[in-house]
């Protein structure tokens, strides 16, 4: 097993832009393993995995968006919209929960269509289009129940986030890993994925090379919306409730994870492997600071310093 996976691992690690952050992650883990008793335990590692599911799933969609040189500020709100649609359909309308989940994903994907069309068809900069969508999706999410939370889902729903199959893998973590894997395969091994790099590198060159830039752009926002919706469902399972205020300012966390992972905001470079590193850095950092018992305000300062260091290290390494 180890032998076979080594080249793939190497390919993962060699991904441009993520080496510095990866070193940062390793150092961080090493430090925490020494400084705390509880960090380097199976149980805590599994906790960390649990804790990054929502961020991880959204970060994959965000990676696509940022790769083509765009940005998606709406993910936090779309997450809330998705979970509210799911909760409303299942608990107020009596729709079976699986079907309600599908509808929630469709609604979330639809927000991506709107953002994408605003960007490609109306020439609205991605920042503004998704900022507008952020406000709209949050408003609609709130209107569904007039700001109230919804509780009372079937027991199996919450259990998806709790039961660790085979002793370690909850369904929600499994979903995240599948999303990581699919995203990685897509970017590395399909022409569609390569097209995103071309678009991000130079949209005009991509267009002249016969790539349908508009369609790809809309597609990318749809995927980002869809994954935000999926993250909403996962979060609902974790919390066993849905509330329209969920996901507030998650867009910044998500973008930060992607950028820390070496995907450039100007588009064209980066990838999922880096994003996984970025997500882990944020997850481990938060977890570790809690385990160290660092006071909340000091945590903010430390998080800022570590983020700056991780990215500066990569920039230095390149020189």
């Amino acid at each position: 097993m180890v032998g076979r996976s080594a080249p793939r691992l190497k390919a993962l690690l060699s991904l441009r832009g993520a080496t510095g952050p990866l070193i940062g992650l390793v150092l961080l883990c090493a430090f925490l393993a020494v400084a705390t008793d509880s960090f380097f335990t199976v149980r805590n590692m599994l906790n960390v995995l649990d804790q990054i599911t929502v961020l991880g799933i959204m970060a994959v969609g965000m990676t696509f968006v940022i790769l083509i040189g765009g940005i998606d500020l709406a993910v936090g709100s779309v997450l809330a919209l998705g979970m509210m649609v799911m909760g409303y359909l299942s608990n107020y309308m009596g729709v079976p929960l699986p079907l309600a989940i599908v509808c929630a994903l469709l609604v979330a994907a639809f927000t991506g269509v709107v953002s994408g069309v605003l960007v490609t068809g109306f020439g609205v900069p991605a920042f503004v289009a998704t900022l507008a969508m952020m406000s709209m999706a949050r408003g609609v999410a709130n209107m569904i129940t007039d700001g109230q939370q919804i509780v009372g889902f079937p027991a199996w729903f919450n259990l998806m986030a709790i039961i660790r199959h085979g002793g370690f893998l909850t369904v929600t973590v499994g979903v995240m890993m599948v999303v990581f894997l699919l995203g990685w395969l897509f970017l590395r091994f399909t022409t569609g994925g390569r097209s995103l790099y071309a678009i991000g590198g130079n949209a005009e060159v991509a267009r002249l090379a016969g790539i349908n830039v508009k369609l790809a752009t809309i597609g990318v926002y749809v995927v980002s919306g869809l994954l935000a919706g999926l993250a909403g469902v996962v979060l609902a399972a974790r919390l066993d409730s849905v509330q329209p205020s969920s996901g507030f300012t998650y867009e910044l966390d998500t973008i930060a994870a992607v950028v820390i992972g070496g995907t450039s905001l100007s588009g064209g470079t980066g990838g999922i492997a880096g994003t996984v590193v970025g997500v882990l850095i944020i997850g481990v950092l938060r977890n570790g600071l809690n385990l160290l018992g660092v006071s909340p305000f000091t945590q903010q300062v430390v998080i800022g310093v570590v983020i700056a260091l991780a990215v500066a290290a990569e920039a230095f390494r390149k020189k």
């Binding site: 091994f189 022409t191 590198g201 060159v205 991509a206």
Partner: protein, 497 residues
Amino acid sequence: MTSPSQKPILSLEGIRKSYGQLEVLHGIDFDVHAGEVVALLGENGAGKSTVSGIIAGSIQATTGRMEWLGEPFEPASPRQAIDAGIGLIHQELRLLPHLSIAENVFVGRWPTKNGVVDRAKMVRDAQEQLDRLGLKIPATRLVDGLSTAAQQLIEIAKRLALNARLLILDEPTSALGGAETEKLFEQIKRLKAEGVGIIYISHRLEEIARVSDRIVVLRDGEKVNEFDSGDVPVRAIVESMVGRKLGRMFPQIPEPKDEIVLEVEDLSAPTGAFKDVNFDVRKGEIFGIAGLVGAGRTELVRALVGADPISQGRVRLDGEDITPRKPADAIRRGIVLVPEDRKLQGLVLEHSLTENLGYANKRSISAAGIVSKKRLIEFAQDAIKRFGVKGYWHQNADELSGGNQQKLVIAKWLARGPEIVVLDEPTRGIDVGARSSIYDIIVELAERGVGVIVVSSDLEEVLGVSNRILVMSHGRQTGILERNEASEVSVMELATS
């Protein structure tokens, strides 16, 4: 002219430059005197732009000495060089699209009055420079949307306005037509008379005899020859550049087949950049398109491949209407364009050669949408070798010299095995050796029955390679000349009518 006893204004001694392990300049020495034009020649990648960059402070030499006006000189930034009186016209166009022409001309050196930017003076002075170069565009216009040639003229105006004592022109004429080139030479003459020293870099060797007083030839980062007169036979220059004897520049042009592949009927652009264009291209024909700068040739060929909209007219391939709406339509039918601006339209500069080659050749590197890394790399290595690109598959495109970038773009499109190839200024910035190899490629394409359309501002080139030549003027087609009736005079007549 210059007297040898006079001290040089600039002298280089043992200039070396390395990028990591790789040394690209191995000790360059030469002098420039006041009022003298030194031509700096060499193949693509010989190190001409690197030397210019070092003199102009945008690149720092690894070792070596420079003297400027008798003082040791080691500019750490472009500012220092500019302040010392050295101006560099870059090989690549570097203008700010969202600013006015006037502002581009004076960027970094805005004229001020009472500590405030003097816009009126800026526009006046910029307009004066444009007039000198024969560019009839108001200086208050934004640069965005101007043709490559116009942009190159602005780039030149920018440096002429410097009032520098040494001016480096790195391929100033690569996108210019004959008339614009004449205007530039007038300016060079004026500057010489004013005692300005000039380093002139060009791959158009026929220009060299006309402007230069001295020739310095580089090969692979070394100075291989220096001629004390500009009036050296082109053949001699070329041979010292490439280090071997060279055959004819233009190969034998094959006769096209009778079968017509491409028909263009009444084609017009919504912008009016071209109107009612009609022509056809036969199998194996090399079809030239000539005209003055701004004649609308680029717009025409871009429309032909679906890159720009068409308001009226039809394009037929093998008798079938295929009027393209988007580039993919044309590419699918085997019509490809090598665009005129390699940086903005041809390459993703921060990506590797391999990636760049892959973007236009999905079919060759993937099956059912799944890319095979191995096939991708093999494909790229093969294309790099076949088209003589000096570079490695894993290098980024922006590490290549300008000429090699151009070859990379050509390689990217030809590797598909297209049916119709459109080349817009295919040899812009390409050295003589490489140029003749591109002509060989064109002829080889024609021999295989591919229809080739060549747009060029270089008259000699269009005349040299084309079976027939379409001439355009102000967006209209003014005539189609057969090879035997085409000459500089007949083309220019139509181009200016």
